[in-house]
């Protein structure tokens, strides 16, 4: 699956990226993570950062869920 982490580089955005990577590695999910830091690109999707986009759909925004919760979101 295609995962995008949207954020301009604030601490929360990094935390979300790390948590997502951890969830993927733990559950050996086949996914491709890209980071989107360009504000014009982010604005096309959401105005609340950080956000997590899975296969074109926003699943999380404005918060950093726990690795457990992310696992649930990604394996659904």
């Amino acid at each position: 699956m295609e995962i995008k982490v949207l954020g301009t580089g604030c601490p929360k955005c990094k935390a979300l990226e790390n948590a997502t990577r951890e969830a993927i590695e733990k559950n050996s999910i086949d996914a491709n993570i890209t980071k989107v830091t360009d504000i014009t690109e982010i604005m096309k999707v959401t105005m609340t950062t950080p956000a997590l986009v899975v296969d074109g759909k926003v699943v999380v925004k404005g918060r950093v869920p726990s690795v457990n919760e992310l696992t649930e979101l990604l394996t659904k």
Partner: protein, 343 residues
């Protein structure tokens, strides 16, 4: 699912912790006195004793307040999103819009790194510049940490005065910025931003998730400010015990008219967070600084911060930033003079 047990465990954890919180808070004063007078047998009224007593009472008290209220605010904020706030502000008339924007600025989750996307989102959906600014002024200035510390160290009256005058400054300053028609001072690329279909109800948050967000808020904010609180109270405690009464009266008293504008100017580059500044200001007042001057100083330190200006420079031209500082600064000054005059 073991995640479910984990989550409901957190709710149970909160129910268990609440009575413990109230007990600790209730017995803090007697416990402090017992440690100071009976356990350590310090001489009552001596400089060191009173400094010590102040410190070991205020630090746990403020920490307890911070944890409880930030937790509650974290849950309240889970009901507000920038998208919802924007929707509420769309198409509002000038004055009503300013009032709503300032009020929503208090409850909408906001950090300095979300200022730009928020600004872009507001402008894109046609919310007037003045209303956007009412939001951008209120959001950082009236934050929960400042209000909790004011409540803890000054009492609820001062906390309320701070919130009300902060709202007033945000509403009026935003309204004036709107009247001045300063759109030409917004960077042109801002108006070229295209936003896509942003679906609103993507997440149905459960109660457990909201409790979790409360916990996250506590971890994040208390983790960030606790050191400033301890340091601020330590400086405050030392001054409380050792600096003579009325020491600040000549410098920051109400009879020196220039004390208000001077404190605001000093406050702009001083970017301490609320956690560090409020305990120090509380002692300034105790030593003779007037409420108006102290209030103006605090609003300037918290509300007009240099790092935020640097961030906003990406979307606003320099004259706009300077106008913004001038208008908000004048508003704060009026508040300062008013309180020096009334009290």
């Amino acid at each position: 699912m073991n995640t479910k047990i984990f989550k409901s465990g957190r709710t149970r954890f909160v129910i268990l912790l609440l009575p413990l919180w109230f007990l600790t808070y209730h017995f803090l004063q007697p416990a402090t006195d017992w440690i100071t007078d009976d356990l350590l047998k310090l001489t009552k009224g001596a400089h060191f004793t009173e400094t010590f007593r102040f410190f070991i009472f205020e630090v746990p008290k403020v920490m307890l307040l911070l944890v409880l209220i930030i937790f509650a605010v974290g849950i309240v904020r889970s009901f507000f999103t920038a998208e919802r706030t924007r929707k509420a502000l769309e198409g509002r008339k000038t004055f009503t819009g300013n009032v709503m924007a300032a009020a929503l600025g208090i409850v909408t989750p906001f950090c300095s790194c979300s200022a730009i996307p928020l600004f872009l989102g507001f402008v894109e959906s046609g919310i007037p510049l003045g209303i956007t600014f009412s939001f951008l002024i209120a959001a950082p200035m009236i934050n929960e940490v400042a209000v909790i510390l004011l409540y803890g160290l000054f009492g609820w009256q001062t906390a309320l005065i701070y919130v009300v005058t902060g709202l007033f400054v945000a509403i009026i300053a935003g309204w004036i910025i709107g009247r001045l028609k300063l759109e030409k001072w917004v960077e042109p690329w801002v108006y070229e931003i295209q936003t896509g279909e942003q679906d609103e109800n993507l997440e149905k948050l459960t109660f457990e998730t909201r409790i979790g967000m409360g916990f996250d808020a506590v971890k994040e904010i208390v983790g960030k400010v606790w050191l400033y609180v301890v340091l601020g109270i330590a400086v405050g405690a030392a001054a409380h015990g050792y600096v003579p009464e009325e020491f600040m009266a000549s410098l920051m008293g109400k009879t020196t008219w220039y004390s208000v504008p001077l404190s605001i100017l000093i406050g702009i580059p001083l970017y301490s967070n609320a956690a560090g500044i409020v305990p120090i200001v509380s002692v300034l007042i105790e030593k003779g600084a007037s409420l108006g001057t102290a209030l103006a100083f605090m609003m300037s330190v918290i509300g007009l911060s240099l790092p935020e200006m640097v961030i906003l420079r990406k979307v606003l031209k320099l004259p706009m930033i300077l106008t913004f500082i001038a208008i908000v600064g004048t508003g704060i000054m009026l508040v300062g003079f008013l309180f020096n005059y009334v009290f």
